[in-house]
């Protein structure tokens, strides 16, 4: 573990964590406002990436940065209006089920239109190459861009919610939707906007994540489970908790993936040699990088045992 590795992993981990936060913040907002857990949230991420892939070939990346999230917003709002609203009266489980169905639908539609293999969603010229070099390793501009966009987005959300009128209405509708409606605000429309907004956030994450990482049909599945873990670990309904959990998980995964030590290496430090006959060898020989995929889920299980409310959670259940 040298300084170069540490710095680069730190920066990469932060940028991945911030991307996770962009996704999980939209999920948390929708859950806080509407009590709906949007199972299709990661699918909106995927759709955003694919739409940006297509539109950037026509109008370029920088315009796609605006256009693609807007299209995803429209999709999300339409879904809320025509599907989600109908099951609202059945309770939370049917709401979750309908978003679950949507995730299947979006996956199949994407595969229908763009095919089942990865597409070559390229970085624009302005974002290719390194931003700076530290200790001989490059830190790519694209990752720095992710960090920038997510911070800007976070700041605008916070401003929107706390300083504007619509934000106050949203905050009020969070706990007292009937009262807010009685005051003359169109609460169903607010919900539609919030759902669309959350989807647009996910889409935006897709636009910038899709070309930094890979754009393929499996991208929804791989990140989907992790953002649910983030939301539960951070505490259901807590934006700051989601922020903390996203960064933690992003950092842990980035560091873990690059570390090849295992318990055998550790035991070797104490001059304890391990052979294939040693008891528990299959467990001992696992390197940290091999274990990396399950770390977020292990984290989830540990949090549930020791701190079920989540890191910064306030609401129960």
């Amino acid at each position: 573990m040298n300084l170069e590795f540490f710095t680069i992993s730190l920066l990469n981990g932060l940028s991945y964590g911030l991307l996770l936060f962009m996704l999980s913040s939209g999920l948390t907002l929708i859950f806080s406002m509407m009590g709906v857990l949007n199972f299709a949230h990661a699918s909106f991420y995927m759709v955003g990436a694919y739409i940006a892939y297509s539109t950037s070939q026509v109008i370029g990346f920088w315009w796609s940065l605006l256009v693609a999230p807007l299209l995803v917003f429209a999709m999300g709002a339409a879904f809320e209006r025509f599907c989600l609203r109908k099951v609202h009266k059945f309770g939370h489980v049917p709401e979750l089920l309908v978003t679950f169905g949507l995730s299947y639908l979006l996956l199949e539609l994407v595969q229908l239109v763009w095919g089942r293999s990865a597409v070559n969603y390229l970085l624009p010229e302005g974002l290719q190459g390194p931003l700076f070099t530290v200790f001989g390793t490059n830190f790519p501009k694209s990752r720095a861009f992710i960090m920038l966009i997510s911070m800007v987005m976070l700041a605008s959300i916070w401003l929107l919610l706390t300083r504007t009128r619509i934000g106050l209405v949203i905050q009020a509708a969070l706990t007292h939707p009937e009262t807010v409606e009685a005051l003359g605000h169109n609460v169903p429309r607010v919900f539609m906007l919030v759902f669309g907004g959350g989807a647009a956030l996910a889409g935006l994450a897709g636009v910038i994540g899709g070309n930094t990482f890979v754009t393929e049909p499996a991208m929804a599945g791989s990140v989907g489970a992790i953002i649910f873990v983030v939301v539960v670990v951070g505490g259901m309904g807590s934006l700051s908790g989601a922020f903390l959990a996203s960064l933690l998980i992003g950092l842990i995964q980035t560091f873990a993936v690059a570390m090849d030590q295992s318990l055998i290496t550790l035991l070797a430090r104490f001059s304890y040699a391990v052979t294939p006959e040693t008891f528990g060898y299959p467990l001992l020989k696992l390197t940290i990088s091999q274990v990396a995929p399950i770390l977020p889920f292990l984290f989830l299980v540990l949090i549930l045992i020791f701190r079920p409310k989540g890191l910064l959670g306030t609401r129960e259940g």
Partner: protein, 430 residues
């Protein structure tokens, strides 16, 4: 106030009849459908019935939405296949007919282990925890190739050991009857569960968890125990699956599997006991037949699922029961015209949509074969605008007509429901 008063209600004869019919169906099915494809489907359906019914203990009876149930069936499969291999090697003999119980016990064990943490919460949080735990187990599958068999999975031979009375379980038909036996016994056991105190309190927890606390029950405990029982039966199903396919790969504990369990159990109907049986049948049909017909089969299934959640959250079972209720009042024949119209217009819409979907897929995948494709006996040209316009026209017409028919049907249905209400009240007064 004897036992007779509560149990033997007027339609108890009907219940005995249903169970006998069910057993008969299981026994006779392979004699009616003789092809090997049918036998494969029946065998798969057999253990899927057990798994879907076990899933419904959580979903329909307990109100617990789990996205990771395949884990318990899958781990049951894995332990079963290891037990079979150990028996074949001679290190630990278990007759094949008891292997599903090995699966069951492993499902029970893992449900007790993982369920403790999972059932600490309820509702949406519970759903997400099951997702996380499911992903955890699936991700672990690559880490322990000794247990999970890595990419290739673990294979086995089910015809180990000496044949008993000529039964070696090599031929598929013998395996089918083993599956059918367990299917009947497990269905009966799970049905019996719904009639026990724990089963009933589980329903109460589904309906009103807070109230249950105030009648002396620890809702978390109730859910935990139900989770373990569901895991047990899922494990039995998994064990049978291992016997049937003689290979188990890590895919059996994946989120995709869990998702399909949820999808089809819900489609079959979570609010009635027999709903998941229908769901298992649909699952087999979709996996084996529908996937042959069209690449986009999952898209269609997803659409149907979406419509079901919005308009018929009780699934097919509830639709059947609603119509049975109408029939019991003698009013079903008034609806047959409406149903026919709905079916026809739906099919037309579907044809239009499917034509477009198939053309898209054709363009994407088979361009080497030219732009033409056959669809329901008509030749379509995927690059020709006429085909697209034609398909679009069919779709729009079908959709419009369907909407009209649907509204008319709803009006008719509503009238019939009112008539039935009046009839019920009239009978009450008599």
């Amino acid at each position: 106030m004897t036992k007779k008063f509560y149990e033997f209600k007027p339609y108890n004869v009907g219940r005995w009849l249903l169970w006998t019919l069910y057993a008969l169906l299981l026994v006779v099915a392979p004699l009616l459908f003789k092809s090997s494809l049918a036998l494969t489907m029946l065998s798969q359906a057999g253990y899927l019935v057990i798994i879907c019914l076990s899933y419904n203990i959580l979903l329909g009876q307990g109100g617990m939405l789990s996205f990771g149930h395949a884990v318990y069936a899958g781990l049951g499969s894995f332990l079963a296949v290891h037990a079979m291999n150990m028996a074949a090697k001679g290190s630990f003999y278990i007759p094949l007919s008891l292997i599903p119980l090995v699966g069951g016990l492993s499902g029970l064990f893992f449900a007790a282990l993982l369920g403790y943490v999972t059932t600490k919460k309820a509702g949406t949080t519970f759903a997400m925890i099951t997702l996380g735990v499911g992903e955890l187990v699936f991700a672990m599958s690559l880490m322990f190739p000794e247990f999970f068999g890595g990419e290739g999975g673990i294979t086995t031979n089910r015809a180990y050991g000496k044949p008993f009375l000529g039964i070696s379980f090599g031929p598929q038909i013998q395996v089918y009857y083993l599956i059918a036996f367990y299917c009947f016994v497990c269905t009966a056991a799970m049905f019996a569960f719904t009639r026990t105190p724990l089963g009933r309190i589980l329903n109460a927890v589904r309906d009103n968890p807070e109230r249950v606390e105030f009648i002396g029950y620890n809702t978390q405990r109730v859910r935990y125990y139900a989770f373990i029982i569901a895991g047990f039966f899922a494990g039995i199903g998994g064990g049978l699956a291992a016997i049937n396919s003689e290979i188990v790969t890590a895919e059996v504990v994946s989120g995709v599997r869990s998702g399909s369990l949820l999808l089809f159990t819900f489609l079959g109907g979570a609010t009635f006991f027999f709903g998941p049986i229908i769901g298992a049948g649909l699952l087999v049909l979709a996996l084996i037949l529908l996937s042959e017909l069209s690449m986009a089969w999952l898209l269609y299934v997803g659409l149907i699922f979406l419509f079901m959640v919005m308009y018929a959250p009780g699934g097919l079972a509830s639709l059947i029961m609603m119509n049975l209720r109408v029939a019991s009042f003698g009013k079903l024949r008034e609806l047959w015209v409406g149903y026919l119209a709905l079916a026809v217009t739906a099919l037309v819409t579907l044809a239009g949509a499917a034509a477009m979907v198939e053309m898209v897929y054709h363009l994407q995948l088979n361009t080497a074969l030219g732009a033409e494709l056959g669809f329901m006996g008509i030749r379509l040209n995927a690059l020709n605008i006429n085909s697209w316009l034609g398909a679009g026209f069919v779709l729009m017409t079908g959709l419009g007509l369907f909407e009209l028919t649907r509204r008319q049907f709803l009006r008719q249905w509503g009238d019939i429901q009112n008539e039935i209400e009046k009839e019920i009240r009239r009978r009450e007064l008599v």
